[in-house]
Point group: C2
DNA sequence: CGCTTTATTGAGAGATATCAATACTTGTGG
DNA sequence: CCACAAGTATTGATATCTCTCAATAAAGCG
């Protein structure tokens, strides 16, 4: 785990390309300067490195600058559940606010960098900048909605449907960040996908093969190409947002 | 749906018995007066009545004064997922903050009353009262943690384990509110329990019967008595918090 | 290039779903 | 206050999806 200070101009929120997807949405340039003082440092993580563990005291929340992380929670008997995958601009560590200790574990799926948002300072600043406060509440709320869609997936969908919803959700989130959304590399293993979706790795594999046979997708290892979007949406039991602008994913 | 104004003294946060479980935790008496002006009205709901629907504009969040509600989310094909059950002191409607529209539907499971917290006014007040802001963030964060434990349940536990975890979670939450925690009435139907746990109603029934046979519980319709707490904890794969004070439920 | 990890595919087992019949509750109206 | 109807819950028999176990293949890594 490697710390970087904010001397480099690119590390400031005010000039960060992620600004529009991250915490400082809609913040005026004068207020942005204040945020720059808040987010001074970053952490570089190699694949497999842990950002925080269950029970660690909450000092900061983090925003993903680049890379991908997973959060997971484990039972004592070793069973683990992947809770979420986190793309650039998304905030991590929010579950630590409740009682001052992180309630999950965050691990990098590839080389990644996260900005450190010192939490106590942040709460103060949010009070001074109403737009920042509002944005923070929106982020927390959307996180809730995201988890609730995930619950729907695990509680009501069959394996095939879960996987389709997962791929579409990923695609939508990549699109919202300006990445290619019909062709991308999965940053997570089959094991991690399976854990996230509450199914076994073998089932993930089989379903992916089935999708490929049906011409819904093309897949070569972790590189995936979505061919028949409509077909996938239908499979997932979701309406295709078609040409409407996807602000937030509908499920997964 | 019946509106009640706050003329009755009992409707004020400052004198509400739920104060210590609700939003105003740790608020000084002078600040409490301000909150009283915020929470002016309440809504009385009969069993089956809807508090808000998916897509309704967010005007307020709600705290449960008495009774029980469920929140759920439905697919177009009719499949529904119960997301949560909400006891007195818990806050409802938080998923509406993200984009200004509720992302789920809230329905009373019995005659219930909720306090109306006008959201725009609330954000202003939270800025003025730091403790209120902190408490609100904690509530949002714990909601996230609760949903994440629920995800673990749906993703990693077998039917039997999910049900045991559910009963224990309910028991803990009742205990935290000063209710009897080893004997209580389920406010939700088997269908609703099944939906919440991602299993079929018949499976719920069978597992309950099996628990009763094993001497873990006694059950007569919706009245349930937890006999062997340790056994249930073991079944759920969770550590028994024993005589430690349960602040927040561990899973469900 | 060989070793370890990761992914695919097949065969059989098992947990839960589905279908079906019965019993119990609750509410309503005579 | 009883009788009936509608809703809710239990229990059984069978079907099905997904898991588990196993073998093979492919990819990443030193």
């Amino acid at each position: 785990m490697n710390y970087t200070s904010s001397d480099a101009p690119s590390s400031k929120c005010s000039v960060c390309v992620l600004g529009q997807f991250c915490l400082p949405v809609g913040i005026s340039s004068s207020d942005l300067a204040k945020i720059d003082t808040l987010v001074k440092d970053r952490v570089r993580l190699q694949k497999g490195e842990t950002l925080y563990r269950y029970g660690d005291p909450l000092n900061a929340v983090y925003s993903v600058r680049f890379g991908t992380l997973k959060t997971e929670y484990g039972l004592e008997d070793g069973r683990q559940q992947v809770i979420g995958f986190h793309l650039p601009g998304e905030i991590l560590g929010l579950d630590g606010i409740g009682n001052g200790e992180y309630q999950s574990e965050a691990i990098a799926l590839e080389e990644s960098e996260v900005c450190i948002i010192r939490y106590s300072a942040f709460e103060d600043l949010a009070r001074q900048i109403p737009v920042l406060q509002q944005q923070f509440h929106r982020i927390l709320s959307r996180e809730l909605t995201q988890d609730q869609r995930h619950l729907l997936s695990l509680g009501s969908l069959r394996a095939e449907e879960r996987l389709a919803a997962f791929l579409l959700n990923l695609s939508q989130r990549l699109a919202a960040r300006g990445y290619q959304d019909n062709e991308f590399d999965l940053r997570m293993s089959r094991v991690e996908i399976g854990s996230y979706l509450g199914i076994q790795i073998e089932t993930v594999s089989r379903m992916l093969s089935r999708f490929a046979e049906s011409g819904l997708i093309q897949i070569k290892q972790r590189h995936i190409k979505l061919i028949d979007l409509d077909g996938l949406y239908e499979l997932a039991g979701l309406p295709n947002p078609e040409r409407s602008i996807p602000i937030r994913p509908v499920a997964a």
